[in-house]
Structures are given as C-alpha cells and as structure tokens.
C-alpha cells in the first residue's frame, strides 16, 4: 500500500522533475529503446508527442495520489479517477497497441533509470523505492485492465443496495 511518506516523496521528487521534464522523457525513451530496440517501431517516428504524453500521464499520476486522507469522501469525476484511467490505459495498450505483458518490466526499469539520471543526488533510496512501488502498482493495474473479462466500463455502475 502506498504510505503517506511514499506519496510525499513522489510529490516532492516530481516537483524536481517538472523543470527538466523534457530531458527526463528523452532519457526514458533512449533507455527503453536501448533495452528493447524492437519496441522502437511500435512508436511513431516523431516521438515528441509521445514524450509529452508520458510527462502528462506521470503528472496526472502524481496529482491523483496527492490528496489528504481527510478528502476520502470527495467525488472525483470518472475521467479523472486514477484507477479508471489506468485500467482503460492498460486495456488500450494491450488491445490497441499490442503491447505484451512482458513490456512492463523494461519500461519500469527505463523509468527508474531516467529518474535516477534526472534527479541525481535527489534520487535517494527512499525516492527510488517509492517510485518503484508506484510503478509496480500502475503496471499491475494496467495488466488487470488488459485482462478484464468485462470491459472496464466506467458507466457500469451498480445501484447501492
């Protein structure tokens, strides 16, 4: 479970990434294609748009994790709910883009590597651990979204008893 301390580490380390976001995205894709050259054709030739999407998604993740426990009752619109968004993303990755499940490991490695390079000394063991935990959680969620028997249909709402 993501602890409060881990959430804070994610938030504070992300703040340091934001000003160098484009560089971090560069590093990530360089590392990913180094580890898995066969993934390069899965992306468009001009990868700039993809880099921006990556940063936006990570910013969304950080933002979504950043709420006080006291706000647990708040209603979040379904298109901004981290769980639903990530489930849908997992489904898209699997069905639309044909990304295999074994892609999550090298992707995580590339992400951690890029953050390490980008943050330098600020990438402490605790920060590494927090990001690893978050990534593992997101990857598991995406896989669950891709394996869902029923569509991860946000409109499927059961009336409360």
């Amino acid at each position: 479970m993501l602890t409060e301390a881990e959430r804070q580490l994610i938030g504070s380390s992300w703040r340091l990434v934001v000003p160098i976001a484009e560089t971090a995205a560069d590093l990530f894709y360089r590392r990913l294609f180094e580890l898995r050259p066969e993934y390069r054709p899965l992306f468009a030739t001009d990868i700039e748009v993809q880099k921006r999407k990556l940063i936006k998604m990570l910013a969304f993740v950080v933002k979504s994790l950043n709420y006080p426990a006291s706000a647990w009752k708040d209603n979040v619109p379904i298109d901004e709910d981290l769980l639903l968004v990530v489930l849908a993303m997992g489904r898209r990755h699997s069905e639309l883009y044909g990304v295999p499940n074994d892609a999550y490991a090298p992707t995580g490695e590339a992400l951690i590597w890029a953050l390490d390079y980008g943050l330098g000394e600020a990438f402490t063991d605790e920060v590494r651990s927090a990001w690893t935990h978050v990534y593992t959680l997101l990857a598991a969620t995406m896989k669950m979204g891709s394996n869902a028997v029923e569509p991860a249909d946000p409109s499927f709402v059961q009336a409360s008893a």
Binding site: M1, V62, E109, I112
Partner: protein
Amino acid sequence: MLRGTFEEHALRDVLEIVSIGRQYVGVEVSSAQGESGVIYVKGGQVVSADALDLTGLPAFRSLFSARFEKFRVFRMTTPAALPIPLGSLPTLLLDVSTERPEALAPGPTAAPVEGGHPRRPSQQLTMAPPTLEPVEPKAQPASALEFDATAAHPIAVSAVAPMPKPTSATAYLPVPESSKSSRPPGSEVPVRSTLSSASAVVMAANSDNARHGHVLAVASPKGGAGKTTIALNLALSLARRGLRVVLIDGDVNGDILSSINARQRSVGGAYDALASGADPADLLLKTSLATLSILPAVGAALPDLALLSQDTSASWRSLFDRLLTNADLLVVDTPAGMFGATHSILTAASHVVGVLQAESVANRSFEMFARSLDAMAAAKRPAVAGVVLNMLQAAQSASLAVMQDAFNNLPGEWLFDVSIPRNSVFLTASYEGLPLGMLDEANPPAATYLFDLLASEVADRLQLTKPATRAPRAFLL
C-alpha cells in the same frame, strides 16, 4: 468492472489496485460453496464490509479466508451519507497479514499454509517492487513482476531494487554507481529542454552580484499580480526587524508612489540617476520608519525613454552599489513581465521573489518565471528567494487550484509558507495611501502579520538573520 480469481491476484493486491482510485467501489468475493461477502472502499478507506452474518472488521478479516476463490469489482454511486470508515486500507491490511488464515474462518477446506495464504507460485502477483535484473542487449530478462511466492509479507515493499550493472558487453550509457552519486564523469546527458533544473536556479547565487550585497527584486510575468503591494509591505516588515531597507521603484509608471498617494512628492528617481549617473541617495524619500527609505522611479519629468529598451544592468548595478553603502537590503519593485527593464534589474539583483497571483491566467503565465531566469547566463541570474502566492481566495476552488498546482509543480524550496489572501483591507490601505502596518499602528490588520512572517522567511533564506549568540534560557523555573 473487473473480475478474476484469487489464483491470479490475491485479495490484498486487488484491494491495493482498487485503492489508487477514489470511486466508491465494492469488491465482492465468493466461494465455490456460494458464500460471498463484499468490502466497500473509497478514497483509500475501507468504508464497510459484509460477510455472511458478520459486519465491520470481523467481516473484513473473514473475507481473506482461503475458501474464497473469485472476486468481482464494481463501481457504485456514492451514497448520500457515508459512515465513519472502518479504517484506512494500509492499516487494515497490516492487521490482516499478522493473522494466520486458519484463525480467520472455520472453512473446512483451508489448505495447510506457511504463515501466508495458499498460492500457486507460478502465477503469483504481489506488490513487492520489481527486481531490475541486469540486462544484456540480446538476453531475455526475468519478468520483473513475478515474485518469490514464499515472500513472507507481500506488503513489505521497502526493499530497494538493485541497480542495473553494466555487463562486459554493455552497449548502454554509463550507469550511476549508486543512487546518491552525481552523474559519472564523461557521461553526456543532452539537455534539450529549455528548462534546466530549477533547483540549480534556486541555490546558485548570482555569482557576479553575491559579493555585492542583498538586492531583492520582486517580479512576476503577469501584471496585476500584486508586486507593488508585496514589495511595499514586505519592505516595511523587513525594516521593522531593524534592517536598513531601501524600497526602489523600478517601474517608470511609478506604482510605489501611487500606492502611498505620493506621486507629487518625487523630485527625481532611479531612472534619472541611471541616465545621469547622479547619486541616488540624494533622491531618497524618508519615511516615519528610520530604517526605511524609498527611491521613486521618476520625478516630474520623464527620463529618456530610450533607456527602457537598452540593457541598463550595469547602471542598475552601480546604483545598487551606491545605495548599499548605507543600507542592508534593497527591495526593488519591477515592471510587469520578466523581460525588458525587468530583465536589466534582475541581472543586477542578487535575489528575486516571484509573485504568483492565485488566479488561473496568472498561473498559466507563471511558467515564464522559471523560463526567463533559465534563459539568463548562470553568472548573471539572481537566486530565487522564493515564490509567494498572492490574492488567495480560499473560498474559491479556482483560486485554491492555483495553490495546489503550485505545490505540485514548483520546486519545493520555492514556495513560501506564507500566502497572502485577497482581503478588502488592501483596498482600504490603497485608499488611505498607506502600507497595511500603518493603518492602525496600535492594532494593525491581521494581514500585516502575514508580511512580518514573509519578511522572516525572506530574512532566513537570504541569511540576513544572525544566529543566536547565547544558549537558550531554561524554560521552567
């Protein structure tokens, strides 16, 4: 929404996944015998649980029994009234993991276990961090998300993944030796973005100017953010701490004198001194506070406006130097925007305070604060003393959103703890032509103290406060 079996995903893992969202969700578990129960979660809290004839925590715990085989996750409309939750999910899961499953439920089919739930090792998914194996370019690494099934506590996620080590056939960039080291020598990290690390911007004092003394520019990309108000009240608070402060109006439009309703008092100002090289000390206006003087921007006559499109940094630098012979700190109000005359002032200043108005348009424009500083040569760039959120309206979500955004997106060291609220007292002060603290000196408005706090933070960050020379006294007698 989702369904599966506990062979693929343990219940705690399903709950952990569900808890990254904030919808009101039911996780129903069922057994081959047709027994079922539901755990209701929202926003990381376990709201309630129902199982057979149990409710609450006993129900929650019982649903981790080995006899449940399948799960189904569904979203629900949030009820109008939510009960007090059973507890946060992390806490409750910790509670469950310390109990042996046989003790949880009298199910006759509970298989013998080793202190954990029975699992099929080949398909286990737990939340331990991925093992990042060293990768050979051609080799197949182990899938990072299969874990040792005998791991005692799947929620013990504090183990740190080992660093990937380069192999002899390394084809990739050099890898940092440890997470704490800076980049290895010889590694090339192309910085393609227009922003370099803002942390470097914060701490790197303007090496040209640092030795000269403290010059604090107050700047904001967007106009109307409240620079002048902040500069005026901050200068007063700093002066009240005993620092000799000169408040300089760097904006030809002369808003400082407008704030104190004294436009007619100026016989000449900074821009005249810039043009003629005259001693700015002769142009200072004294205030009722011995430690605070004001240098207006202009007098009755406008300066040569060509001055405004030139790089006047060197002239500002000598003007600052002359004033610093009799002052501890200069506070400079700048024209709106980060370019033009403001750029010249920033180049000559040692520090800058950014003013972020808690309003959406200002928020979007604020990216220019870091970008413009980054575009300056490192030796000429002022250090960022901090960013203050201004005109915050706590009752307006659009205004609070700016604050939230700032916490999320600005470097942590930048934001001051103090934020200045929107308040009608500022209108009153402008009307009266006085800084807040002078409206009623015996009983100043509360916002005055916010500026005192801001001044404290500024003094700390600029290291203007001397550390205590005595040991603290004993407290209790």
